[in-house]
């Protein structure tokens, strides 16, 4: 009844990510700078950032592509995870801040604070911080989702209130009184687990860890959507009322997926922060969440691999457009890309490829069994049909 979680596409994908996780750090660390094959450190961090975005896109694809819930607030979970990591990194600075205060981060000394706020307790411990990376976004998603799904807030209403949520969090984190560094956020990190965050080795390791996280995230999603649970999710997406009448607790399915997705976004955020070196309330801005949704759309919604491809592609485009002679015009290109993809590639890149391959198979039936990445046909259906 259910699809195999480890089909060929999955294996290819995992293999590619694993190869990247090994090759990029190796080319960076093992080869001298003069070598033509050397990967400069800034590219390692840049790729690391892309991988974190890919994990975020994956989490959105899980909830949007398979459960039909468009969250315009996933940036909030990402940022919360990032803040948890940032707080750990801040506490690691210790007495090496500019004011030399062993207990308080610089911005608190700056504002004449005398003691560490309650929310910061425990963040000097790495395991606690990692727990918070999962727990804070997870709890927020649990509470938010529990209210929203229970009262059957659906469709655009849900999208808009998730947007309100991330907007409210952004305003809150911008407040200096809130105790998380205000607009400047958290920055100037020194160590992670005793390793210098700026050292080439640490950067390479962080990149590799991000790749591993992406692989794990992909596996979790894959296992979920290929299981019976996943079939129910797709049923909920395509005909929520019918699924409910069949006796499924639709709310519980949605809630569980939403929480898992939020935790994944949190992990992505936590890995993102040490690689870019700053976390700031700007990450909560609704525009960021919308952009992440667009990565998924570009890659192909409901295809998992598509989310990853979309995130990598759009961010690579952004990096290259924002430098050089095109810099003043890059928003035209980016905007045009979004319009173009929705008009001419409604299934996204990976979705289109899959669709095209499935059609070819229909024409000439092949021995390779049922279509892989099962949901592609359904993915393109409007969310409309309630």
């Amino acid at each position: 009844m259910t699809a195999r979680p480890l089909d060929r596409g999955t294996l290819v994908f995992l293999g590619l990510v694993a190869a990247a996780a090994i090759v990029v750090p190796a080319l960076n660390l093992a080869l001298p700078e003069s070598s033509p094959l050397h990967v400069p450190t800034y590219l390692v961090s840049l790729f690391g950032k892309y991988v974190c975005f890919a994990l975020l896109a994956l989490s959105i694809d899980l909830i949007w592509g398979y459960c039909g819930i468009l969250s315009l607030g996933h940036g909030a979970f990402f940022a919360l995870g990032g803040y948890a990591m940032g707080m750990y990194l801040m506490r690691q600075i210790g007495g090496r801040g500019v004011y030399g205060n062993p207990l308080l981060p610089d911005f608190m000394v700056f504002l004449n604070w005398k003691e560490l706020p309650l929310a910061w307790w425990g963040f000097s411990s790495f395991p606690y911080a990692m727990l918070m990376v999962l727990a804070v976004p997870g709890l927020l998603a649990l509470v938010f989702g529990w209210f929203a799904f229970r009262s059957r807030v659906t469709g655009v209403y849900f999208s808009i209130i998730t947007q309100a949520m991330t907007f409210a969090l952004m305003l809150a984190f911008f407040r200096n009184d809130f105790g998380f560094g205000g607009n400047n956020g958290l920055t100037d990190f020194k160590d992670i687990l005793g390793f210098n965050v700026q050292a080439d080795g640490t950067r390479a390791a962080l990149f590799a860890i991000s790749c591993v996280a992406l692989m794990l995230g992909y596996l979790v999603c894959r296992v979920l959507v290929a299981s019976k649970f996943g079939m129910v999710l797709i049923a909920v997406r395509d005909a929520e009322a019918r699924a409910r009448f069949l006796g499924y607790r639709v709310e519980s399915y949605k809630l569980a997926t939403f929480v898992i997705s939020a935790c994944m976004a949190g992990v992505a955020g936590a890995l993102y922060v040490p690689q870019v070196g700053i976390i700031n309330p700007g990450e909560f801005s609704p525009a960021n969440s919308i952009e992440a949704v667009i990565w998924v759309a570009v890659g192909g919604r409901g295809t998992l691999a598509g989310a990853v491809v979309g995130a990598l592609l759009v961010n690579y485009a952004k990096t290259s457009f924002t430098s050089g002679p095109l810099a003043p015009y890059w928003l035209f290109l980016l905007g045009g890309l979004f319009v173009g993809v929705t008009l001419w590639l409604p299934r996204g890149i990976v979705g289109t490829v899959q669709h095209w391959r499935a059609r070819r198979r229909e024409v000439a039936p092949d021995a390779s069994g049922p279509a892989e990445g099962a949901p592609d046909g359904a993915a393109q259906k409007p969310l409309a049909a309630e």
């Binding site: 060929r8 294996l11 290819v12 293999g15 590619l16 190869a19 990247a20 090759v23 990029v24 080319l27 033509p36 094959l37 050397h38 990967v39 400069p40 450190t41 800034y42 590219l43 961090s45 840049l46 950032k49 007495g95 090496r96 801040g97 500019v98 004011y99 030399g100 205060n101 911005f107 000394v109 700056f110 504002l111 004449n112 305003l171 911008f174 407040r175 200096n176 205000g182 607009n183 400047n184 956020g185 920055t187 100037d188 990190f189 700026q198 870019v276 070196g277 700053i278 700031n280 700007g282 990096t319 924002t322 430098s323 050089g324 810099a327 003043p328 890059w330 928003l331």
Partner: protein, 439 residues
């Protein structure tokens, strides 16, 4: 099951595909890496790191244009060390992590000799670790909250003692102000400036109940309540003034509301630290006559250097209405200092240039000569200007000489014992009490 069989077949297929894609990925990386040495050292590259899109484009685009003009001008003079200068423009898109990424790209990929850029404090904080790690030079042209001195950064904008404190002194002396509203946008510059001002005012005998501090969010556009509150606070029988650290975009609606609610400068003057000619370009200034701003430069200052600069600027932008402002002058001074320091060092090697910069002087546009100090801040004159009907400022007061920028404020608990000296002490936060270099 024939699991094993399937598996090998699969692995072979997957392996082939993976190999192909890996080759492609490596190829991309290579082409990125290979772009570096393509242009040999015929030119000296200068990085320009200002947002051209997003919320900060409104302020930063102008600075990019100024830098392009300065570089073009220097090239017309024959370049630097016999080489042409080449501007490398990137767009960090008002996105703070992107600032760090672009800084890294400028330094490692484009191998720029120095970077001129950033506007907000957070963008500077975001790129700081990058400049430290890769040992490059950043010129930061905007007035800021102080409390920082880094080896790789040169602060050509005003520190709080070069803007905020003289302005408050002026109001106390000239306008006999006794009651203060410190109105700011909720971010680090207003927070710190207001902390410093609060301590300063209290040291001058102002009672705590005569100081009201309030913060509004970025881009706040509905000022009705706040302006009414300011009017209320000002009705306690003592001369009241507003010290505004409201950030860029929120100023236009703020001043519109002030004008409409009839808060005149003769009743409650507003002195602003973030409102210059650019910001006023979007406002009808007639109702704002007499409100004040404190800067180190005004377009209306009548000196030959300034006139020449403005003419060049208007010609360069092909816009006779284009205004000039304080951060632009900071870039002019900073660029001139950098050019001199490179000439003195005879190289663009960052370490040598960083050592050559302190003590370098450059004429500013207001008739004085600014000097780069050992704490990487510069000396600046301070002007208080009143808004005129045409959106320009009429200078009503200025300091006798030039004021040296102080990295650390003596009015804040955390920093009163700190000092910065990159020449003798080689330290940005030397604690005079414990005689130690922190951080």
């Amino acid at each position: 099951m024939h699991e094993a069989l399937r598996h090998t077949a699969l692995r072979r297929g997957a392996g082939r595909l993976a190999g192909r894609m890996l080759a492609a990925a490596v190829g991309t990386a290579l082409s990125l890496a290979a772009a570096l040495p393509a242009q040999a050292q015929e030119t000296i590259k200068v990085g320009i790191l200002h947002s051209l899109s997003g919320t900060m484009a409104i302020s930063e685009t102008t600075l990019k244009d100024v830098m392009l003009m300065l570089i073009e001008e220097q090239n017309a003079k024959g370049g630097l060390l016999g080489k042409k200068l080449e501007a490398v423009v990137v767009d960090p898109a008002s996105n703070w992590p992107l600032f760090a990424e672009k800084a890294r790209e400028l330094i490692t990929k484009d191998k720029v000799s120095a970077v001129f850029g950033c506007w907000t404090s957070v963008s500077r904080k975001s790129v700081l670790p990058v400049f430290k790690e890769l040992n490059s030079i950043l010129f930061y042209p905007v007035q800021y909250e102080g409390e920082e001195s880094e080896r790789n950064v040169f602060y050509t904008g005003a520190a709080p003692n070069q803007q905020a404190i003289p302005a408050v002194d002026y109001l106390m002396k000239e306008e006999k102000v006794q009651r203060w509203v410190l109105e700011g946008t909720d971010y680090v510059y207003p927070r710190t400036t207001n902390k410093i001002l609060e301590a300063y005012l209290k040291s001058k005998g102002v009672k705590p109940e005569d100081i009201s501090i309030n913060y509004t969010p970025f881009g706040h556009s509905d000022w009705q309540t706040r302006v009414a509150e300011i009017k209320r606070f000002g009705s306690a029988g003592k001369k009241t003034a507003v010290v505004s650290t409201i950030n860029g975009d929120a100023n236009v609606p703020f001043y519109k509301e002030l004008g409409n609610q009839g808060v005149k400068a003769t009743d409650i003057p507003v002195v602003a630290f973030s409102v210059g000619e650019e910001e006023l370009a979007g406002v009808d200034t007639k109702p704002l006559l007499g409100h004040l701003a404190a800067w180190n430069y005004f377009q209306s200052i009548d000196t030959p250097a300034n006139k020449a600069f403005i003419d060049k600027w208007k010609a360069f932008t092909k816009n006779p209405k284009r205004v000039s402002n304080d951060p632009m002058e900071a870039h002019v001074v900073g660029f001139a200092m950098w050019v001199k320091a490179v000439e003195k060092a005879g190289t663009t090697d960052p370490d040598k240039v960083i050592d050559a910069l302190p003590g370098t002087t450059a004429p500013n546009l207001t008739g004085g000569t600014s000097e780069m100090l050992a704490n990487h801040h510069i000396t600046k004159p301070v002007f208080i200007g009143e808004i005129k009907e045409d959106g320009q400022f009429d200078v009503v007061w200025k300091t006798e000489g030039l004021v040296p920028g102080e990295a650390w404020s003596k009015y804040l608990d955390g920093s009163k014992d700190l000092t910065a000296d990159w020449v003798k002490l080689k330290c940005g936060n030397y604690n005079t009490k414990t005689q130690k270099c922190g951080g």
